[in-house]
């Protein structure tokens, strides 16, 4: 991993966290659709990133978000979770590609359909984990499920669009 990649990751982490903390924190539709766009930091790490590094990055981002949400550990835990399973998901989605030919996580590198599938799966895992952990019980199963479904849709769309937009900004 060279300096440029590290800078890129740091920049994206800062942008997504600020966006999450200052704007999207206030954006809740119908009290059920939340948007947690900060997971983009973990989602769009280069696929060659060692899992340990990804875990640490996820933990730091999660703790930062937690500070502003006043939910010590909740987001950090969920972020660490998806950072850990990210490697397996990539392996399942792209079984043919091994270590030799690296997967580029982007629309061009994966194709729109698989890219969206990748985002939705990880967002779904993250949100399910997060909301059930937040609820603490399975008592409000229906309510929590509704929250998860609505939020997954909302977050995935925002994550996809933001990724495409930031990519185009970088290229231009």
């Amino acid at each position: 991993m060279n300096t440029q990649t590290i800078l890129k990751i740091a920049a994206s982490a800062i942008i997504y966290t600020l966006l999450q903390v200052f704007i999207l924190r206030n954006l809740v539709f119908f009290d059920v659709a939340f948007c947690f766009v900060y997971i983009s930091v973990i989602l769009f790490l280069p696929s060659a990133t060692p899992t340990s590094t990804a875990l640490v990055i996820a933990f730091v981002t999660g703790i930062l978000v937690d500070m502003f949400y006043n939910t010590a550990g909740l987001h950090a835990s969920a972020a660490v979770m998806i950072a850990y399973i990210r490697g397996f998901i990539l392996k399942v989605l792209f079984p043919s590609k091994g270590l030799e030919n690296e997967i580029v996580i982007s629309v061009e590198g994966m194709g729109v359909e698989r890219f969206i599938r990748y985002i939705v799966i990880l967002t779904f895992v993250h949100h399910t984990y997060l909301f059930f952990l937040e609820a603490g019980t399975f008592n409000f199963f229906l309510n929590t499920s509704l929250k998860i479904l609505a939020s997954v849709m909302f977050s995935s769309i925002v994550i996809f669009l933001l990724h495409v937009y930031l990519k185009s900004l970088r290229n231009s």
Binding site: V21, F22, R25, N26, P50, T51, S52, L55, V56, F59, G62, D66, M67, F68, T71, A72, G73, L74, A76, S77, V80, M81, A83, Y84, L133
Partner: protein, 283 residues
């Protein structure tokens, strides 16, 4: 031994994951006062400051809504205040009927247009007959008397401002001396058309002790305004010995150039009072 270390090294990701999750759950279980004190102490300021900034931005956007809420709350409080004042008039032997005491109702309205430097000034408000506003009702602002409704249609009303040549308000001077003598100095406040900050108070008996700085309020003898709503303060009293009345100049407490919210006053008993005053059976 080296094999064991090898296994540990192979699954180092898993152990890191486990360790981080344990930290997270530890934090969550301590997610109370302890966490705030122990961890946030160093970063607290930054977080709090940035949250404050975003909160301020939100508040600024929401100011209009807050204003509305406050205006409605004020109307409600004002109603309670007049009710209470009327109930406890303080005169021994006289007890006011509760229906009489609760005769005033307030409707909040927003000023959508106004003039204050013409000869005949009007104010347009955004409440009309749909909200129970009728011609003839009084209009007051948080700082004092504004005027009287001239015309109301479905959604809007036109209000005679007190700065109108035909608008008069029955007024009363309040000061300690008058209260001691238990007399009232009644007069009629009317605009002379010159300066929109001053009105003239006529027909105050020149033997009544009034002085500069006394408050001028609406009198008890009017069916339009609740009693003792501020009109202004006396800024000048001049009396030539040949005249029967003081010539009093009153500085208005309402700033007509910056009116935003006003209250339309509805007297529920006005019909009944009018009927008693103009009953043809009494000759």
């Amino acid at each position: 031994m080296s094999q064991l270390l090898g296994i540990l090294y192979k699954s180092r990701h898993f152990f890191l994951f486990l360790a981080l999750q344990i930290i997270c759950f530890y934090l969550m279980s301590k997610n109370n006062v302890y966490w705030d004190v122990s961890f946030f102490n160093t970063t607290n300021n930054v977080v709090a400051r940035s949250l404050e900034v975003s909160q301020k931005a939100n508040e600024f956007v929401g100011l209009g809504k807050v204003n509305d809420q406050l205006a409605h709350e004020n109307a409600e409080l004002r109603k309670q205040l007049t009710d209470l004042q009327e109930m406890n008039s303080g005169i021994p032997g006289y007890k006011q009927d509760s229906l009489m005491a609760r005769r005033f109702d307030y409707t909040v309205a927003k000023v959508v247009g106004s003039t204050h430097n013409l000869t005949d000034n009007f104010i347009t408000i955004d409440k009309g007959t749909d909200d129970g506003v009728r011609a003839g009702m009084g209009v007051i602002s948080p700082s004092g008397v504004v005027g009287q409704v001239a015309y109301a249609n479905k959604n809007y009303s036109r209000v005679y401002s007190i700065l109108h040549s035909r608008q008069m308000v029955s007024a009363e001077v309040l000061n300690a001396k008058l209260r001691e003598n238990s007399t009232v100095a009644l007069g009629i406040a009317k605009w002379d058309g010159a300066n929109p900050q001053y009105v003239r108070l006529n027909t105050v008996d020149r033997f009544k002790p009034v002085a500069k700085g006394d408050s001028v309020v609406t009198s008890l003898q009017n069916p339009i305004f609740p009693p003792h709503v501020m009109i202004g303060k006396i800024s000048e009293v001049s009396n030539t010995s040949s005249e029967a009345f003081h010539t009093i100049s009153v500085r208005l407490s309402t700033d007509f150039s910056s009116l935003i919210y006003v209250y339309v006053v509805k007297n529920k008993l006005i019909e009944s009072q009018k009927e008693a005053e103009t009953n043809p059976a009494v000759k």
